[in-house]
Symmetry: C2
């Protein structure tokens, strides 16, 4: 009997990376000349459009379940996640396209409500909706709705942020408390009381604009599927550096922490949908942090630093002082988190 | 009780257009300045990238059922359909991204096979695969697989083909016999004998390259969902012209015709996935046709012409001489055709 695809392949951890590598290993044209693509697997691919400008382009299919949750819905998430994937490249989001597949019998008012959430994000971000697709699958062949969103942005070479550009001595900053999106979706799927949880689903464009203006940013990433643990491991691996984070400093809301303890999941592997993790020049770290606090991101903090020790490794300094390797998550137990 | 979404909303006819217009009616930013988008609803949106070049970008979600069929599979279809949407703009396809959602338990060898079909098309077309997404939905929440494909191309202003550019006196050329993809999928869904049917799923890039070189092409369209009837109506409406087609001249294979008669469906509303309908300058029509025949497209023919009568109307000259309006299809009865 041949292998089958399991939920872990879609969870955004190591197993997702493995299946993507297997599906694409023999692709010869992996980027547009002068750009980036399958080898970099960054938040967006890059296509050069002039001597000093790239087009950044990304696509994601949003399958979140439930489709409405405290802090957002699948429409808000689909617009936000895609715009964030453009923004963390250092790019200015310009346009999106959306391809919606719904189940026959889906309530039209609900669809309009979801679409309104989607459009509200675009309007706030001054991003154009320029095209898309609309399909319907017969009753029973799709659970509700999938929204695939394409994001397009423009980035100056001087602003370009690649996962492979983290430097020794950089400071690692997280823009806010982690795991809230993952925690609320997990709790809802398990039918738990969620009165004190809320998704962090928000665009990070204002953060990116501000930190790019200050300068000294080497890399940025939104820690979605696979959470902070996956994002830091990608930084470390692609940049050939060691990242040492201080467990004590990682901001996690008490509600999230207690849910995670109860359910036995690691908050570091839980998706955020409105946070960004930055690798910044040491000399700029405090200025960036102060500015984030002034903007109202009061939980933003420096959680670690970059060293040139064993390349590709993330180390976690525990509360009692010991060092352990923070592995990339294999895959979460939570399907349809985004 | 509020309305619900039905299969007809996804069939690519008038009802699909209506729901898309309703979902997007209050979008303020409908294009990137200087480009095209929601108001044009062409096969691709356009983003200006230099004084005389546009980026063409499109997205489609492929949900075809069954996922394997004579002449192709969902992987070949997803790559072909997207590349064709770029090519009919007059653009050169450059790169694609794919976002795959599969059902938990999906056979891995099947997935690799589908992906191989997808990659084979890209390789043949010299198109790069530069990114994507991979998600898994729990067993029972998705019937097999959906592939959303993003296509990116570059087009010189002088080659740009818009649906709104059909001119009076243009000749209408179809590159081959119609309805084969729609007929095979319909027959398979109904469990009929399909030994004499095959999908026409193929890229139209060679056709587009050749006809652009000859010159005189005003508009091009691949008649997918909604078939030739929808494509011609879109030309007529967007260009404010009357198109008169000659029923007798439309190439339809005998097998397709007899299936359609048996099932009571109109072959003109059936999807093609490897044909292109062209509006060309009268003085160039015969040269273009001859070249298509020389390339091996022996069924290519002139099926009609463009007049400046009632704008937005397609008229059909019947075999016995009468004229009737060829309405755009409301929506086919065939779900998951592409």
């Amino acid at each position: 009997m041949s292998d089958t695809i399991s939920l872990v392949h879609g969870a955004g951890g190591i197993e997702t990376l493995k299946i993507i590598l297997e599906l694409t290993k023999d692709v010869k044209l992996r980027k547009v000349i002068g750009g980036t693509g399958l080898d970099e697997l960054d938040d967006s691919a890059l296509i050069p459009i002039s001597e000093n400008k790239f087009l950044a382009i990304t696509v994601d299919s949003y399958t979140v379940n439930p489709i409405f949750f405290p802090g957002g819905d699948i429409g808000k998430l689909a617009a936000t996640g895609t715009i964030n994937d453009i923004a963390v490249m250092g790019a200015t989001p310009l346009a999106v396209l959306d391809s919606i597949v719904v189940e026959e019998g889906f309530d039209k008012d609900l669809l309009l409500k979801i679409m309104n959430s989607f459009k509200k994000v675009l309007e706030k971000e001054n991003v154009a909706l320029i095209g898309g697709d609309f399909k319907v699958m017969p009753k029973g062949s799709l659970d509700k709705i999938i929204i695939s969103t394409v994001g397009v942005g423009i980035v100056d070479k001087k602003n370009l942020l690649l996962d492979s550009n983290v430097k020794p001595d950089d400071q690692i900053i997280i823009s806010g408390s982690i795991g809230e999106h993952g925690a609320i979706i997990l709790a809802l799927q398990l039918g738990l009381d969620v009165s004190n949880l809320k998704s962090d689903c928000e665009t990070v464009t204002d953060i990116m604009k501000t930190v790019l203006k200050i300068g000294g940013v080497h890399a940025a990433k939104d820690p979605t599927r696979g959470g902070l643990a996956m994002a830091l491991n990608e930084f470390a691996k692609k940049s050939n550096v060691t990242i040492i984070v201080d467990e004590d400093k990682i901001p996690i809301k008490e509600e999230v922490r207690s849910y995670c303890e109860m359910l036995g999941v690691d908050p570091l592997a839980l998706a955020c949908e409105g946070r960004v993790v930055l690798a910044v020049k040491k000399s700029k770290a405090h200025e960036i942090l102060k500015e984030l606090h002034d903007m109202g991101y009061e939980d933003a903090c420096i959680i670690g630093e970059v060293k040139k020790l064993e390349p590709g490794i993330v180390l976690m300094k525990s509360k009692v002082g010991g060092l352990r390797i923070l592995e990339p998550p294999l895959g979460e137990i939570i399907p349809r988190i985004c």
